[in-house]
């Protein structure tokens, strides 16, 4: 059943079930993110890096991809996006608590360093923007084999100052590769504001410099992001090359559990951000469409909490990695 007539054109290709599912994914990402921060404050999760405020953009992009077919080369704020691709709360809790079943790395890496071959999520490290070039290589392989797959790679606006980002966009444009460069611009690279990162108003202003279509969208507007991502994905799948897609997001939490953004952002700034929380915006939007009824949002929330409780119980019960495994997987074994 298609959405009601009050829905914008950007939602036209989405069913009511998909819209509800998108909302649920956003809520699941948010509540899991909040849970991890609590576990960090309790001293149980040694490190946490939050994606709160980015959920709408990540869901918007994620739903433009074919799960199990397309690829993602993420960055550390993509908790919600990797779950759209198929990862589970359990996976992230295993990583956050340093448990052996962590599918990203077997608890070798800090949490937030996503990777899962089963879900076409490329393994990622800590250096910023190195992953951009890997996505270009993945897209090279798709094109070389004549596959109709696309790859999305993401980074913050700070990462666009890195040489690897520039080299990756330039290369992808030269070779017209099926890659979407998503920039989740939340205005801050740890403490450094965008104005100290670049002299242009929008990251997407650089698109023409690479000979590449680009767009800036409101990252708090899930459907706007989705429409822009669909356009980029369709273009890539048609063999018409890459797109630079900038989603203007908000960073509701500090950079990481080792940072306190109250030291460099004003109370007004922080308060104003909260008033535009993308989750609330999407809830109101879906209620306006008649996709969510009164009380539905609470039910979604309770359901997600149950999933997280069960996942945490599983992670709590899981064993830490065996020290004997620390020397494994440096080279292929056997």
């Amino acid at each position: 059943m298609a959405v009601s007539e009050s829905a914008p054109a950007s939602a036209a290709d989405l069913t009511q079930d998909q819209l509800r599912s998108m909302y649920r994914d956003m809520v699941l990402g948010r509540l899991l993110d909040e849970r991890i921060l609590v576990l960090n404050r309790q001293g149980r999760a040694p490190f946490a890096i939050s994606g709160q405020g980015h959920e709408a953009a990540q869901v918007g992009v994620g739903y433009a991809l074919r799960r199990g077919h397309d690829w993602l080369v993420p960055y550390y704020r993509d908790l919600t996006l990797v779950m759209v691709m198929g990862m589970e709360p359990r996976d992230h809790l295993m990583a956050s608590l340093g448990r052996a079943p962590d599918p990203n790395s077997g608890a070798r890496q800090m949490p937030g360093h996503y990777g899962s071959r089963a879900h076409n999520i490329v393994t990622t490290g800590s250096p910023v923007a190195t992953q951009i070039l890997h996505a270009v290589g993945v897209a090279t392989a798709f094109k070389y084999r004549g596959e109709d797959k696309v790859v999305v790679t993401s980074v913050g606006e700070g990462g666009t100052s890195e040489g690897d980002w520039h080299e990756g966009l330039n290369w992808a444009a030269v070779h017209r590769l099926p890659v979407i460069f998503l920039v989740e611009n939340n205005s801050y690279a740890i403490s450094v504001p965008q104005s100290r990162q670049m002299a242009v108003a929008h990251v997407a202003d650089r698109g023409p410099g690479y000979g590449m279509p680009s767009a800036t969208v409101d990252g708090g507007d899930c459907l706007a992001v989705h429409a822009a991502a669909r356009e980029a994905v369709d273009r890539a799948r048609r063999g018409e090359g890459p797109t630079l897609l900038e989603a203007v997001c908000m960073r509701l939490q500090s950079h990481s559990s080792d940072d306190d953004q109250r030291r460099y952002r004003s109370p007004d700034d922080l308060a104003q951000m909260r008033e535009h929380d993308p989750l609330e915006r999407f809830r109101r939007q879906l209620e306006g469409f008649g996709v969510l009824s009164e009380g539905d949002a609470d039910i979604v929330r309770q359901d997600c909490q149950r999933v997280i409780e069960a996942a945490q119980a599983e992670a709590d019960a899981a064993a830490p990695p065996d020290p004997a495994t620390a020397l494994r997987h440096v080279y292929q074994e056997g």
Partner: protein, 329 residues
């Protein structure tokens, strides 16, 4: 078997492997229509096309980073860095990414790729500071990488085939002075030389000279001169500096009891230090002299003018002098 040069052996190995396995592709600066600045990819562009022999933008980090992505997606890329001296921009991709992909994903992902780069200089190479460096120690320090430095045309082919088929990232450094100075019979078709296995380039009983790359030939010349005086020098060509062939290093040290380790790269904290440490740890009782080392002096690289270059370079004379010193100990 045909008599071919070192660079022809490299080119032939790439061609053979690209014909055998369509996952193999080549990328780098000028590797396409020109066939590489040293001709190592000559003719490949014409045979395999621009999708498999990719002329890249002038961006070393991208050449390696994009190759990593290709490897992650199931291809077998061979990246060419035009000169090893220009690899530093790609170090992040090599050390933090390629080397760690298997480990950091707990074996979920792997990165089978080769990074080829011409290295080394010499009195007649005139490469000066930025076209002559031997930087292998930087890579040999990193778990997750393999580092191969062949000294002969046959090894260049056999080791390159092994490197391309290797499931992990391999740094493959080719001494540019060898490209056209050597010609030897190289087996046609399937000729695999295993990574991590050294080669006794010359048998001897009195002294051991452990080395690799172009220095092998200088050591052999020095050994021949010693032979005239009845001193038998065994020359061990390491072929691979990570992983080192510990067994062979220990065997030759125990056999002769006197070892000189030499390489063109800077001496301090070089591969020779690791070799010497292995011998000190494993062969102390069998040694008749302290392990000696010979390598590049404490200057950044090989200078341009010949009188200056000579100060840096080893050559048979310097190696012979050290061997005689060792023999007299």
């Amino acid at each position: 078997m045909a008599q071919i040069t070192y660079v022809e052996a490299i080119r032939g190995a790439l061609e053979d492997e690209m014909r055998r396995d369509d996952r193999v592709l080549v990328m780098g600066e000028d590797v396409g229509a020109k066939g590489g600045v040293f001709g190592a990819t000559a003719g490949l562009f014409q045979e395999f096309g621009e999708e498999r022999v990719i002329d890249t933008p002038l961006a070393e980090a991208a050449i390696v980073g994009v190759s990593i992505g290709c490897a992650l997606a199931g291809l077998r890329p061979v990246a060419e860095i035009q000169f090893l001296d220009f690899i530093p921009p790609a170090m992040d991709q090599i050390i933090n990414e390629a080397a760690k992909i298997r480990y950091r994903s707990n074996g979920d992902w792997s990165c089978p790729m080769v990074i080829r780069a011409p290295c080394g200089g010499g009195v007649h190479v005139h490469g000066a500071l930025y076209h002559s460096q031997s930087l292998e120690a930087l890579f040999a320090h990193v778990p997750g990488l393999k580092v191969v430095i062949p000294s002969t045309p046959a090894d260049a082919k056999g080791l390159l085939l092994s490197a391309i088929r290797d499931p992990d990232p391999v740094c493959f450094f080719e001494h540019k002075a060898l490209y056209r100075s050597l010609r030897e019979e190289v087996p046609e078709g399937e000729h695999l030389v295993p990574i991590g296995k050294s080669r006794v380039a010359r048998e001897g009983t009195d002294l051991s000279c452990i080395t690799y790359g172009a220095t092998v030939h200088e050591a052999l010349t020095a050994a021949e001169r010693m032979d005239r005086d009845g001193i038998e020098v065994e020359v061990l060509d390491l072929r691979t500096v990570r992983p080192l062939d510990r067994e062979a290093i220990i065997a030759t040290a125990r056999k002769t009891g006197k070892v000189l380790v030499c390489h063109e790269a800077n001496l301090a904290v070089g591969v020779g230090a690791e070799v010497a440490a292995i011998i000190a740890e494993e062969c102390f009782q069998q040694l008749d002299a302290p392990v000696m080392r010979l390598g590049g002096p404490e200057i950044p690289a090989i200078p341009f003018a010949e009188p200056l270059a000579e100060v840096y370079c080893l050559g048979p004379d310097k190696i012979e002098a050290r061997l005689r010193q060792l023999a007299a100990y």
